[in-house]
Amino acid sequence: MRTARTLRIVALLLLCGGPLFAAEIVVWHAYRAEEKAALEKVAAAFNASPAAKGNKVTTLAVPYDAFADKISAAVPRGKGPDIFIYAQDRLGGWIEAGNTVEPIDFFLDKETRARYIPTTLEAMTYRGTTYGLPLNFKVITMIYNKKLVTTPPKTSTELVATAKKLTNKAAGKFGLAYSFADFYYHAALLNGFGGRVFDPGVKPVLNNPQNVQSLEYMLKWFKKDQIMPAEPSTALITSLFNGGKAAIVFSGPWFLGEIAKGVDYALAPLPTIVEAGGKPMRPWITVEGVYVAAPSKNKDAAYEFAKYLTDVAAGKVLALEGRQTPANKTVYSDPKVSGDPVLAAFRKQVEVAVPMPNVPEMTMVWSPATTAMNTITKGAATPKAAMDAAQKEVEQRIAELRKK
């Protein structure tokens, strides 16, 4: 009698205690709505699959505004998650701060490396070491109103011609509307002309001749061809496009959610630049990566989940239900994914795109670059003068930071 009762108690304890021996992997992300639902579906699928090996994944949605600062504050002190998902722009800063992101070169084998779009993996690499697995990418492309534009322009000359026909400044109608004063959007032209922000060794080269050339070209669209509105804020561009007053917009997947229901839109690759010798416009890729936290106690289990999350099965769910564009090449061989016009368009655009620098010095570039863009678009300075000033400012900031 006593033995049976003891056995029952022990069995009960084991049942409850079983999950205690398995690891719990905590994942932080900043997704909402469909992306969040898709991620949770993938996590549930992982927990049920044999790859989990008894470990359990729990996801936690953290508001986007506070996300990066929370990671900087919590993770190095061991109070953060095992995995967090974020873009690559803060990666350099976190690596330099230390004890935040775990390098995963040791786990990463050649075949896993080969399944990602190469530029997305580059975005996860800092000084030769890989720190995360690329989950999805965001890149700007051409979004146009099908009622106003029947065939999307393929070259810059076609673009100017089409846009001029559709521009009527007095009526507030513009052929092309994009945040041309925002350095992030201008990077498409900048990289297209062969310019760049940093030279290897993280030396800023903001005022190099190709950068200046790209700015002069943007001014041509603005001042000479007059196909773009002044002071283009995102709110303005959205309202113009939704009101049928902007025919072509250069923007990314975040714009699609803002488009009103009545607007019939389509996507196409950014045009090539005839004046640069037919080279394509190369926008910056923002890659969201899955990082393993350095103080995590379950690094192997966490890496297994990261690998699963960036694999084909999860990629399909995230693409079709979460409306993300996965960084895993093999996802696009699925007919449902390649048949979706939006996903296919971004996949095509990323072929010519360049990863945005992930070095911590990049944060010091935004403010001087924005000032330069503002002075240039308002005509207060020539592109060369403005970029010279920005270059000096960035050099000074980096020197202050590196001074020992």
Binding site: G93, R127, A230, L236, P360
Partner: protein, 635 residues
């Protein structure tokens, strides 16, 4: 009935406590310094061995059998090295190891196992550090990693270079070092009891006279502390000389051994490059090191301890301790009530504030948050940079003045102008509206009051963004209205002055309700009979206002103005959200400038100094204003 205070007893207690503090701290500092010196000695010798072995392994080709032979030979001639491991990045393999755990089927060469990921990551870190230092041309990252292992041994790791690239890593573990020198307890006790005995004798001789007792106690304390400090510094100097001697001996020893192991065709070893710091820069030789630096630091430390000891002596000897004790015991209950609130304030207010002040004396940036503050100490350098930079304006080639917007004084001037204009507008408009609302018999007064308080009730974040939108050049309401009246649309954020006006109007709109409410409350408390009497006397409205209204408003308005000045001085939201400092940083106030230094330029020490200066400015202002107007007299 209290008895007369016993000066002998007070100075006796004071002297005893001061000696305990002084000698105690000095002994601890001596032990700490000797332990640190011992660590440095062990580390320098280990680095010499590490660098010598690095040369040998690089000469043997980093991977393959020659490396294993070289490592085995080195291990035999260095029984004190507990383990030597060579890792090659190509193939993530362990090339050679003398660690007893790496034997049998775990013997080198083999691929690193999962538990050894840390070693591989360390190697990659070293590779990245070498590359960073090479590209930046500076020594910012450590190229040799030293970590403490169990029992006081050291784990060292150095990069192995082949063909100009870092291709592997060498790790060594030294043996447990000899135990540290014991704390000189008996000497300390002697230094403690001897002066007390002398003081006791002096006390008996001198009686209850305060001044001679004070002199005697101070002299004894000074003498003892001086003697102890001198002896301590002598011991530490001897330690340093011994360290240099031992390191030189080690270099000589390794030269002989390494020379024998290097293959004839490989590059010769270079002993001059072995005594390095963690950035692999050669340390200056013993003769080149000026002894002054360490000695001066030691003297400063002892001075600090002496000051503390003297303060303690004064505190007890002059009766202040007795008085404090009496106060605490008399108002026991009151102090107990305050304790919980004090604890909360200490944790939430005082500690973060003091930590910020501490950071302001360092050069902490995003790159060195991991290091303890004492390593980054620069004293008043940040303050010097901020307050000593007088380059406010330059003459541009075409003769006009170009202001340096990053300059502290320009920003201060702008902030003062911003504050004064805002508070003026707020007070004027608020007072005016309050006077209007206060007219007797006004219909619908409650509705007006609610409407006029709305600007204050809405979150100012939202208000700022709405106003920013209203000033948009093409689609903003303000420019549309200007165009309706036939004017030219203004690009508000293009020039510093118009940009300032946008922020001014936003903040003016936000700040008048506060002043209005304060003034309304104060106005309603003025009895109407006074105005009656004044009207009967024949005073005009303006005279009534100046003689009756304003003075009655003073006790409420002055604190409100002080608060408003402090708030407006630090009005981060409006400046950041409406102008963002445009154009080109010309409309930054001190607090937004500090924010940008901290979170865009990542210079935490500099930004902390900036905020401390802002605090001091406002503190000075508040104190002066308070004293001048004696407004809080009633409180």
């Amino acid at each position: 009935m209290k008895s007369a205070p016993s000066h002998r007893l007070r100075f006796g207690i004071g002297l005893a406590l001061a000696l305990a503090l002084g000698i105690g701290l000095d002994v601890l500092l001596l032990a700490g310094a000797r332990a640190a010196d011992a660590r440095v000695r062990a580390e320098r010798q280990a680095i010499v061995t590490l660098n010598a072995l690095t040369d040998v392994v690089v000469g043997a080709g980093i991977s393959g059998d020659p490396v294993r032979t070289a490592v085995a030979a080195w291990s035999k001639s260095h029984p004190s090295l507990a383990a030597i491991r060579v890792i090659a990045f190509d193939g993530i393999s362990l090339e050679a190891s003398t660690d007893p755990k790496d034997s049998g089927d775990r013997a080198a060469p083999r691929r690193l196992s999962r538990e050894e990921k840390d070693a591989y990551d360390r190697g990659q870190r070293l590779r990245a550090s070498v590359e960073t230092n090479r590209q930046e041309g500076a020594a910012r990252k450590e190229e040799i990693e030293v970590a403490a292992a169990d029992g006081g041994a050291l784990d060292l790791a150095a990069p192995l270079e082949k063909d100009g690239e870092v291709a592997g890593m060498l790790e060594i573990r030294t043996a447990t070092p000899p135990p540290p020198a014991p704390i000189p307890v008996s000497t300390a006790l002697l230094y403690f009891f001897a002066p007390l005995a002398v003081y006791a004798a002096a006390a008996l001789l001198l009686g209850e006279r305060r001044a001679p007792l004070a002199v005697a106690a101070s002299l004894l304390l000074a003498l003892v502390l001086f003697l102890f400090a001198r002896q301590t510094l002598r011991i530490l100097d001897a330690d340093r000389v011994e360290t240099d001697r031992q390191v030189a001996a080690r270099v000589g020893q390794e030269t002989g051994l390494a020379g024998g192991l290097v293959a004839p065709g490989a590059a010769a070893v270079d002993p001059a490059k072995w005594d390095t710091d963690v950035f692999r820069h050669p340390r200056p030789g013993a003769a080149a090191t000026p002894p002054g630096g360490a000695e001066r630091r030691g003297r400063n430390v002892f001075f600090g301890v002496a000051i503390g000891a003297f303060a303690l002596l004064a505190f007890f000897g002059l009766g202040l301790a007795a008085r404090l004790g009496a106060t605490l015991s008399r108002h026991r209950v009151a102090y107990l009530y305050i304790v919980p609130a004090m604890l909360a304030m200490i944790v939430l207010v005082f500690f973060p504030f003091l930590y910020g002040v501490a950071i302001s004396f360092t050069q902490q940036t995003i790159y060195n948050t991991g290091q303890p503050l004492s390593h980054l100490w620069v004293g008043l350098q940040n303050y010097g940079h901020i307050l000593g930079d007088f380059a406010v304006a330059k003459r541009a080639p075409d003769g006009s003045l170009a202001f340096n917007y990053l300059n502290f004084y320009w920003t201060l001037l702008f902030t003062i102008v911003w504050t004064v204009s805002n508070v003026t507008i707020g007070v004027t408009v608020g007072l005016l509206l309050a006077l209007i609302l206060n007219t007797a018999g006004l219909k619908l007064r409650p509705i007006y009051r609610v409407l006029l308080i709305l600007p204050w009730a809405m979150p100012n974040y939202i208000t700022a963004l709405i106003w920013k939108g209203m000033f948009h050049r093409q689609f903003g309401v303000i420019n549309q209205v200007i165009q309706i009246f036939g004017g030219q649309p203004i690009s508000w954020f293009d020039k510093p002055f118009t940009s300032f006006l946008t922020a001014l109007s936003t903040n003016g709109w936000l700040s008048f309700p506060f002043m209005m409410v304060i003034s309304l409350g104060a106005l309603q408390s003025i009895p109407g009979e006074i105005y009656e009497a004044a009207r009967v006397e024949g005073a005009s409205r303006w005279q009534q206002f100046r003689a009756i209204t304003l003075p009655s408003l003073k006790p409420s308005l002055i604190p409100a103005i002080i608060i408003s000045v402090v708030w407006t001085f630090n009005m981060f939201n409006i400046i950041f959200l409406v102008t963002g400092g445009e154009p080109g940083g010309s409309t930054e106030i001190l607090i937004t400038q500090a924010y940008k230094f901290a979170f865009e330029r990542y210079r935490y020490g500099y930004a902390a100094a900036y905020s401390v200066i802002i605090f001091l400015i406002l503190l000075a202002y508040g104190t002066v204003q308070n004293r001048v107007t004696r407004a809080t007299e009633g409180l």
